[in-house]
Symmetry: C2
Subunit: 474 residues, 2 copies
Amino acid sequence: MSYTIQQVLIPSPSGYQQSGYAVVDVQIEGDRISAIAPQLEAQGTVIDGRNKLLLPGFVNAHTHSSELWQRGLIPPLPLELWLAHLYDFTPLEPEQIYLSALGTAVETLLSGGTTVVDHLVLIPGRERETIAAAIRGYREVGIRAYVAPLIQDEPFAMALPKGDHKTPALAASEAAPTTAEVLELMQDTIEQYHCPEEGINIVVAPTGIQLCSDALFAGCIELSDRHNLCRHAHLLESQAQQMLAQEKYGCSAVKHLAEIGYLGSRTSLAHCIWLTDADIELMATTQTTVVHNPLSNLRLGSGIAPVLKYRQAGVNVTFGCDGSASNDSQDLLEALKIGSILHNVTDRDYRNWLTPRETIEMAALGGAKGLNAADQRGSLAVGQQADLVLYDLTSLSLLPRTDPIGLLVLGRPSQAVDRVWVNGNPIVTDGQITTLNTTQLRQDLFNQSQWVSNLSSPTMKEMEVRYREVMGLS
Amino acid sequence: MSYTIQQVLIPSPSGYQQSGYAVVDVQIEGDRISAIAPQLEAQGTVIDGRNKLLLPGFVNAHTHSSELWQRGLIPPLPLELWLAHLYDFTPLEPEQIYLSALGTAVETLLSGGTTVVDHLVLIPGRERETIAAAIRGYREVGIRAYVAPLIQDEPFAMALPKGDHKTPALAASEAAPTTAEVLELMQDTIEQYHCPEEGINIVVAPTGIQLCSDALFAGCIELSDRHNLCRHAHLLESQAQQMLAQEKYGCSAVKHLAEIGYLGSRTSLAHCIWLTDADIELMATTQTTVVHNPLSNLRLGSGIAPVLKYRQAGVNVTFGCDGSASNDSQDLLEALKIGSILHNVTDRDYRNWLTPRETIEMAALGGAKGLNAADQRGSLAVGQQADLVLYDLTSLSLLPRTDPIGLLVLGRPSQAVDRVWVNGNPIVTDGQITTLNTTQLRQDLFNQSQWVSNLSSPTMKEMEVRYREVMGLS
């Protein structure tokens, strides 16, 4: 298929740092951007681009799709006590995984995202079905998906620092899978599903240092090298994890991950809040990407990631929504807005603050870099894959007319996404997903859920006293 | 007119602190809620309330409507340099004031607000026309409006602290109006427009200590007492204002305002970021309301208002969007979400964090309290004025079903507002404003604006060097 978008506004071709705009025609041929020029001979489907803004698609660079089932559910709690709820109320049916993958894809697409990195929580004992269900959903919608099965080889009880205690806070109620079992699952998953040319990528993604052995990290590095896969993990999301790393390794988590070779230009790490200046330096020298999840970090009280420091140190930073149980929305533009303005209270000198242009560059090009794909995506340039989003600038939420990118990032765009292409395929037209019946999706999500109040987590009950003690809360 | 909303979900009648819900019929008769019970005899228009949530309307308790014309326009800058841009690019036609009042009202209504407090920036030399235009807009839409003309009797040049300098940073380019002129304007405005029974209230609202004499505050107190008006102002939004207060009064701004009698249960103050513990105590004892504008405070790098401390001290806190040039959206639900979760990073003990229920109580009842109207509005109770919002819980953004109030506050509701009544009048039906042609509004906003890039503010150029020096920025 081919398209000619006529007279569309794009950021000045001289790059994101310029504040200008150009009005151009943009052509898509097959899966690529084939031409950008002031005036092109029309070919294929002609689209009126007047009063519209064309940008490369953003990356929702860290989420957990199945948390959609717990959105709005868990009270305001810090990560460790919130996780207790998450495990107690996690969805257990592959059909649910499929539906929440659809929902996550739809919300991402309608807020400027063309790629999702799904750090997929696996149903215990039904891991392969979980992965199959999510991939089925992403294939149907047609979003570019990086499916990162969330793996661990230690029981949940180990995730809390022990402090002065000899035993963990929780009895280990479930047996963790062995390292070999987990790696076999990953090997099978890669062989069965990894297919970049069809838009499905498998990512190795130990949940993080809190629940993974060095052997698991080593196995993932080996798989990643052998199959040229991206690597992902959580990193130092909470102060408790910082304490745990010291207990476990006697050094910072970043230093340990660097030593065992997990960092690098194909590695993106979510959160990265409790890092020292030395850690930040290591992130920079290894070319590791930080995925900033501002809304989740606020909701869980995790802290404010030092994003301005990362940028000054030359670390690539991009944005994620995180799962819907800790942000409660998969609106990527919301993550860009808050992830941009939040840092203005961390540095008194406004000359260091993120501009709206820098923010979209982080979300598009920064997202592609974090997936080792900046040569393929993230820029409006001939030859790049056509992962594109066309914004209607006449939405009431973007009026009156001022600076289009300022409105998009600092406003609260509503129904502003007019069209989306992924790999040259049209996924959204006239603001509607074309690959999916969203009325049916709403009905399915409605039917398989019920109103909840007075939620009580047995696991939280078991661990709260110890948590408060170890964290120094009276 | 009368309405019977059948089988609608409401927060447990035992109050916001309970997590339960009830399914009830709610009746509106004229301007009041006339009955709430499990089953009522239908009368008037019957509305199916199934899978819908009914809440009292929220208050957009601090905004500047005409800033809509500068939304998305001003780069990330601290208050004082941002203000330089605001003054350089302010709208100058009363017709624009009318349109931006409409836009502000529409966005507020479609995000759960039924009342707006408009700290209205006045066009120099056309102050009366400005006020008339805004009120015309609010009357047409039918939102409850508290119009608070933004007054001052000192020139903009005085708003910066002098530091070690003898002269202000800026030449006083404009002559400020005299105190008498300003008070005469207010007197006329009150006589002409103040009409609570028709939903239009005039508020006395000196911009703040930075540009107002004690005589102006005294005159406003007198008018407020004589006509039973609410009082409003900005308070300690920036660190520069804290420095300025010390230079001007030799004490904190709060202490000074308390001494001259401006604080009290009819007074609401926007921002309140740079307050000491002693100041917070004064806010509590005087029963003054804090209006928290979290998005504006982040965008301008003003700081994080100590909202959890206010709550612990017994200070009433509610939410505002602030003007669209410093937040760039009038979505009140966005202000609730960020104004709630932001504080989780300011207090390590999660037991102090705001819950979604507390947040909606602050937005509805807290908003009414700040306008001295809690006996009339802010609760779902028989006899209260019918300022009500009905949310459709089957919007994709609120699915799957979990806790409705959790979804509303922590999610990112899109097209969730189904119906709105103000004073018993239907303003929104099936998600559409019924009192206004919004297609025409979009067209008008579009036609009277143009795309902008490369914005440069002469006033900022004049003051930036001094600003950096006084604020200790190298």
